[in-house]
């Protein structure tokens, strides 16, 4: 098999991953799209390794590393997503807009409920203090996550 076909497959795979990253709002799905991209890389590496008949099998070695890295990334990523969900009650990437340039309104924030929940009304735990003053409504988010 000519080297071009698997490379094209991997390029397609990579592109699908890119599309997923751009199009999906859910953080988990974005994470999966990234996995697709990494797997495209893996495919590439293995194909080239074979095609080049690399005596050192650099491609394969790197593939292993990439797999490990991907695993670590996913693990960490899921942990972060979990933490975000616990704090905000959402994992939609485009709704996480507490951190933004001052004065730029975040249209998603008001509708998400996390902002409108009203920091003042929520159980203003000391931990939540800084966040509440800074951006808006994380206490509300906490409530939700615990409820969910």
């Amino acid at each position: 098999m000519h080297v071009v076909y698997p490379v094209i497959v991997s390029a397609l795979l990579f592109s699908i991953g890119v599309y997923g990253v751009l199009a999906r709002r859910n953080a988990i799905l974005v994470l999966m799209s990234v996995e697709l991209m990494l797997n495209a890389v893996n495919l590439n590496l293995v194909v080239f390794d074979v095609w080049l008949r690399d005596r050192l099998h650099g491609g394969q070695v790197l593939t292993l590393f990439v797999i490990v890295i991907a695993a670590a990334e996913v693990g960490l990523g899921l942990a972060i997503v979990l933490s975000v969900f616990r704090n905000r009650g959402t994992v939609d990437v485009d709704r996480l807009r507490d951190l933004t340039e001052r004065g730029l309104t975040a249209p998603g924030l008001a509708s998400s409920g996390s902002g409108s929940a009203g920091g003042a009304a929520g159980p203003s735990t000391p931990e939540a203090g800084p966040a509440a003053t800074a951006g808006g409504g994380s206490p509300g988010g906490i409530d939700r996550s615990e409820a969910g």
Binding site: A27, W51, L52, G58, L62, A79, V84, P130, S138
Partner: protein, 488 residues
Amino acid sequence: MIQSIDYVAIGAPLALASAAGLVLLLDVFLPRRTPGALGLVALAGVLVAGGLVAAQAAGGGERRTFCVPASGAGPGDGCSFVVDGFTLVLSGLVLGAGVVVVLLSMTELAERRIPPGEWYFLLLCALTGAVLLPAARDLATLVVALELVSLPVFALTALKRYDGRASEAALKLFLVSVVSTAVMLFGVSLLYGLTGTLHLDRLSAALSAVPGASGVVAVAVVLVLAGFAFKVAAVPFHFWAGDVYQGAPVPVAALLSVVSKAAGFAGLILILTTGLREQAALWGPVIAVVSALTMTAGNVLALRQRAALRLLAWSSVAQSGYILAPLAVVGGNAFAASVAYLVIYAAMNLGAFAVVMPVSRTAARNELDDYRGLASRRPVAAVALAFFLVCLAGLPPGLAGLFAKVVVFRQIVEGGLGWLAVVMAVNTVIGLYYYISWTARLFAPAPSGPGRVPAAPMPVSASVAVGLAVLVTLAFSVAPQLVLSASG
């Protein structure tokens, strides 16, 4: 095939890794009451690693290990781990920064709401990666080291589990980072496919030999650069900086702005000057344009910033632009200017973070207006911060910053990139605006409103960090030769 490993060469990362493990172990066994102890252990680990680096520097010479015999795979000796002057300078930088970051962490962790064991473990891991990276001489090691710097930082950012903003920052950092990594890895795979080697010193020659695929080579080069550009927050990889700096704990922001950035630059310099030496005509203009855009974007974004950390974020983006600029000069020893700037930048930027850190604990939103009248509340801290800001702006009495800029300007001018020099000159002016307006706030009369925060005593660790940074920056101001001779 059993390789002999030069343990002296890998001493520093090894020491850090061991310290990381030790911290984790101690965290299990030590009583919970002593978070400071873990910090001291971490500090000791960093210092030991620093001692090793210093010893290597004193010993002189070059050490290589993890070598693959040159057996037809190409020129070069194929060593994956090389300790030379460049490595030592950057390792030293990273470890010095590590000391300050650990000290800042001790202040941050004093509230005991962040688990110290995990924190220091992750911190030491990131430092390990950052020390490893400048020594890496093949793409696999480079990638692994880069990830070793990145992954712990995500976790560190998110370690304020109770803080939604920290989590959000972590997620943003994570997303942008993994996408950049994926892009870079794709580029790496292409490079591998084109050349069949991962060793940097063989890559360049092999790439030159690739027939009729210049387009693919160009794409591969651009993609590979993406990963490092993310680390240094160059345009168009800069978007994350503001949000993440603002959301992350201050020591992490300091880590991101110095250690992580140094690692990125180390990788970039290695790739460009070793791996892609022959392709300079290809990447030279790219770096020049990216550098111009980066400094402009960073400065312009910082212009209207009211939040201290965001301002520092954009300022560090701008500074990245300055550091990138000499790299655009093809050939010669231009990257030495980048390294010199990086070292001086690290000192002054860490100093700024070290002063911002304690202020952030009394002023939650950490806005520039919270610094109003700092000179009357904490004169020493105010003077120190003013000094660092003026340094960053590149004006006397901050001679270190001035000389750093002069070094960079000189390389650009000598390299014939007049337009870039002019862009940088204009950017220096824009940059001065926000630095000086912040500095002016320090000495403005304090607001007399009821919201005024009484001056809390400076935490000891933060004071030490500030003092350290001041000393180093002063040393660089009076004798920039220290940096110049090391990096040159």
